[in-house]
Subunit: 117 residues, 2 copies
């Protein structure tokens, strides 16, 4: 009920301790959504633009509208992007908190040596 | 040929710019390997221990030796862990540089607002 709960990342999981099964299941779904090169490029196009119209994704990806739509749906289902319908098109943006959760879970004590190298 | 090339992360991709197709393909393979809750828990068990014997993974995961072996092979093929054979067992540790590449690619200008929140 704390006002800071939503943004408080003190207790989100990292690789410094074994992951609980429930956390692993939630996170695995998001990583699986990133496990496709077209979806990764799609995410990067949206992230780099800040916000991007679904009408402006086919050409840079070289994919059809149904394919682009399939991939945006998968990223949205994983909580990585959110869309806002405006007329005929949807405008997509990334969910930075969700990306931060994934970055956080990849943190491990072993990374300290890389950062200090 | 620079001595610092291997550890130089100045030019590894991030979501601040659209990903090149070749980068996306390499990275997607690693994310796909993380897209399974058992593999994520396996990675966390190895990362938390620093180094962990394959003989000490079955019990905490509640999986058979062939299943554990299948998952360690997938993580190793994705470059996320490396193993050293000692007698009958393999000892696994994470590859921090590879985890750092994945963390790096999830970086986006939008994350700055989360960090500052």
């Amino acid at each position: 009920m704390s006002a800071t709960t939503d943004q408080d990342t003190c207790c989100s999981p990292t690789l410094a301790a074994p992951l609980a099964t429930a956390d692993a299941e939630l996170l695995a779904g998001a990583f699986a959504a990133l496990g496709d090169p077209v979806r990764l490029r799609l995410l990067s196009l949206i992230a780099a633009a800040g916000e991007r119209c679904s009408c402006d994704l086919q050409e840079p990806l070289g994919r059809s509208q149904p394919t682009v739509s399939h991939h945006t749906k998968a990223l949205a289902a994983a909580g990585l992007i959110v869309g806002e319908k405006r007329g005929k098109w949807t405008w997509w943006r990334v969910v930075p908190e969700r990306l931060d959760d994934l970055r956080h879970v990849l943190d491990t004590p072993a990374l300290a040596s890389v950062r200090e190298a």
